[in-house]
Amino acid sequence: MKLQNSFILREYLRPQAFPTTWCPGCGLGIVMSSIAQAVHFRGLDKNNVAMVSGIGCTGRMSGYADFNTLHTTHGRAPAFATGLKMARPDMSVIVVMGDGDSMSIGGNHLVHAMRRNIGLTAVVVNNAVYGLTGGQSSPTTPVGGRTSTAASGSFERPMNLETLARAAGAAFYARATVNQTAALTRLIERAMGVSGFALVEVVSNCHVLYGRMNELGDASQMMKSMEEQTRRVNPVLLRRAAAPLRLTSAGSPATPVSTATAQGVHQDPRVPRGVIFERHGSRDYSSRYYAMLEQKARARA
């Protein structure tokens, strides 16, 4: 008899730390379960898996996952993880961040981790709001979204992480939602197989703060509306499309990336989910670095 869920809980999580501090119905538990399953389906030894997190509701995840876990300072998780990956290139390093953690205070580290193409699996849980501090605007708060620092609705343009990741040179970008748990697990599993920086943006729900302030209903209503607000894309079937980039520097990554925003469908207001782009032939920075060291040693010998 296969007790899949309790197996995940026993083998990959720390039951003694439960129940979690997350609000009832928070999608973070689902994300955590998907990460654990992805590690399981990839057949990884959990002693060789590290989870690095920053500050925020998402940051708490590293406390519940039974890997080598590191709960760092606000926004700096990619930088801590870069150090770890360079020291232990064989280790699978998962970085979990929230939208404020990764894109606001940690924007610099995220951009440069993508630029270096260091072999991290970044899971960015995007709920459009700062949860732990009580519902302030985040870089992904949509225009018109009410928050505790924009009571009459935000007017700021939200961050387009997808185009930034493409321009910065990430190897893999996928978007998943917490209502499609099987797809979420599969995308994380796939991201973990990428050599280089792989980012999975997970659209999640903060029904307690953002949902309440914007009258979006409870957890299940918010999750069900993700169904209507997103559409499945397949990058293999789609041709390269009109990204806002027209310019290229020499050797720019903007050209070889296959993108999901296809011509003719980009008027669709629904956010694409699935694999958005994947750079072929990408190689992790740490493995390139150690290969270089070996080459130098051979040259000396």
Binding site: H71, T73, S104, I105, T133, G134, P139, S148, A150
Partner: protein, 372 residues
């Protein structure tokens, strides 16, 4: 009204028209309140990408002529130090409100502490004077925030309001002045050609002209001459230092504030500030009820420290007890100033719980038995 609300309203009353910040417990309410209040008075609220940027933005706004402020807590205050040093060196008035929580690092985000006392003094690199005010009640959170803006404008320096989560989250009744006294930035009297934006004066500052059409000048974090141009000339640099230190030292009477209670006949003095001063005040009444002559010295300006008053106090009482929610940061300063004339002892905790009047009373009783 709670302490964060009082600080936010104090900022508005003092004429603050620009706020840049980043959410951090337990200071976030200040940002939330100002995000609603500033647009009402035609001011600007912006939530920046991090605390580094918040500090930089308030410097820019201040150079543009707006009174500006940011609020944060320990981890964010650490990030601000680089640009706080810039504001000190280039003499930009601005106000930083730091609602202290338990550290180091993420520490205990929702719990109160007073661990940033030395960081507020020495957090940024190099030597520099700085003004740090410490409110112990919601009323003082309002009054001292107004005062912080006034001192910042008057002495062209960043001023830090060092709150703790006890005062920030405490809700109490306040009696606010209808129109607080507000210092506004004077325009230079001289012509743009004669204007020296960083004039070296003995104990004064040049008026800071807002960047604009007539007054063009150079602002730099490098050590500079009176026109603002970088210099490595040791003679100019030493004059710059004299200017920087004397602008504060010559006005200590105006900058320093403290309150004394029942110290006239006291044998034991409590030196307490911030949220801890409330428990100390209560402990004094409890001790007096038991016949022990205790009194309270409560600094409202903690940097520069009221050195002269402390030296006098150490000559008057037999023992000094310093309760603090840290491991003894101000106790060091008190010990230094007491110079052995009065025995100094601390009541310390940094575990997120407030110091209770009983704890302080126990310390008073212990030393009074020793004295007897």
């Amino acid at each position: 009204m709670h302490g964060n609300e009082a600080a936010a309203e104090g900022a508005i009353a003092a004429g603050c028209r620009f706020y840049a910040g980043y959410p951090i417990t337990p200071s976030t309410e200040i940002a939330e309140i100002l995000s609603g209040r500033l647009p009402e008075v035609g001011g600007v609220f912006i939530q920046m990408e991090d605390e580094i940027a918040s500090m930089a933005a308030i410097i820019g706004a201040s150079l543009g002529g707006l009174k500006s402020a940011t609020a944060t807590s320990g981890p964010g205050f650490s990030l601000m130090q680089e640009n706080l040093g810039f504001a000190v060196a280039s003499e930009i008035p601005c106000v930083v409100i730091n609602v202290q929580r338990v550290g180091p690092s993420t520490g205990l985000p929702t719990k109160a502490a007073q661990g940033d006392v030395m960081q507020a003094r020495w957090g940024t690199h190099g030597d520099h004077p700085i003004i740090v005010l410490v409110p112990s009640s919601v009323q003082e959170a309002y009054v001292l925030t107004v005062r912080a803006f006034n001192l910042a404008e008057k002495f062209r320096t960043p001023v830090i309001v060092l709150m703790d989560a006890i005062v920030a989250q405490l809700k109490e009744k306040v009696e606010l002045p209808d129109t607080p006294q507000v210092v506004n930035r004077p325009l230079p009297a001289e012509s743009p050609e004669a204007y020296k934006p960083f004039a070296f004066t003995e104990g004064g500052v040049a008026p800071l002209a807002p960047f604009g059409r007539e007054y063009r000048y150079h602002v730099t974090g490098l050590l500079h001459d009176e026109h603002g141009f970088p210099t490595e000339d040791a003679e100019v640099v030493s004059r710059w230092w004299r200017h920087m230190t004397s602008k504060i030292d010559a006005h200590l009477d105006e900058i320093l504030q403290w309150e004394e209670a029942l110290l006239d006949d006291a044998e034991i003095a409590l030196v307490a500030y911030g949220g801890t001063a409330r428990a100390a005040a209560h402990a004094v009444t409890l001790a007096r009820a038991q016949g022990t002559r205790a009194g309270l010295f409560k600094p409202l300006t903690i940097w520069p420290f009221p050195e002269k008053a402390m030296r006098e106090l150490a000559g008057r009482v037999e023992r000094i007890i310093v309760p603090e929610m840290n491991l003894g940061q101000i106790r060091l300063e008190v010990e230094r100033l007491a110079g052995g004339r009065a025995a100094v002892e601390g009541v310390n905790r940094a575990d997120g719980l407030a110091i209770t009047p009983e704890q302080i009373l126990a310390a008073i009783m212990k030393v009074s038995r020793l004295a007897a």
